[in-house]
Symmetry: C2
């Protein structure tokens, strides 16, 4: 909130360790894509690969987001930690990241498998039951589209907004 | 989540009444803008004006989102109700809206005042303390930029993702 006289505290999160924790703890992210002059946003569960500084998602083999990705690989996304509304301040407490990067479809089977492991380990305490149930063999991977975001730049904020 | 064999239930929310409730109950929204081929997302507290089917926001008088708005008024935004993670399903339960519309800066003082009332009433149980503290006179409104989104199209989903 930016009204003059309004109590407002906000600071940048510059510490890569804290940014990293938000990436590790987040469960879903809203991404913005853009085709010609048309913006598009979609919210997806993700897995974070710390070594590659990349996010993995899976999706159906068809859909609007794939059409957008094929036209433009630039992506801007956000992860929000909602820390609750502040009464009388017209503001929410939060921590958030906004990242920019390149979004692409993973074609390589080996990377698809690794990406799915990243996703399962990020989202599940015990990834075995869901993996065993859903991805029994290589053919099962053909029914899944794996999307990857390579993060180039990240900024963080915490405060009230 | 779209993996074959994975339990996945999702349905469209077509009922305008339910869409309306999500708009009324939400506190913040992530919007996607696009300048040339560059996407941008930002998350903002909002007020919903039911009669106009419009959202109001306020912002500082400068900033990246204003630059984007000046170049392209097309907007796509989302409001998410996070209903919690579903263990062993690699999925979140949620209700969400995605809307498209036109984003603009409100210049007219009278509409700025009305927009600010919408925002206060949406976000606060008792809007008097914050209004009295922050917007004492017309000059105070010059220090605030009011942004409006007129919603043209909306779609809703609920399920696990």
């Amino acid at each position: 909130m930016h009204i003059h006289h309004m109590t407002r505290k906000e600071r940048e999160i510059k510490d890569p360790q804290i940014q990293n924790n938000i990436l590790k703890n987040g469960k879903f992210t809203t991404i913005g894509l853009c085709r010609d002059k048309e913006p598009y946003v979609v919210t997806l569960s993700y897995g974070y690969d710390e070594l590659q500084h990349a996010l993995y998602f899976h999706a159906a083999n068809k859909g609007l987001k794939l059409d957008f990705i094929q036209e433009n690989q630039a992506v801007c996304g956000t992860i929000i930690e909602d820390l609750g509304y502040l009464k009388d301040e017209c503001a929410h407490a939060y921590r958030s990241l906004v990242y920019r990067g390149k979004i692409s479809i993973v074609k390589d089977l080996q990377e698809k498998k690794e990406g799915m492991e990243v996703l399962f380990h990020h989202l599940e305490e015990d990834p075995d039951p869901i993996r065993d149930r859903t991805l029994k063999n290589d053919a099962a991977y053909n029914r899944v589209t794996m999307i990857k975001i390579e993060i180039d730049h990240i900024s963080g904020k915490e405060g009230y907004d």
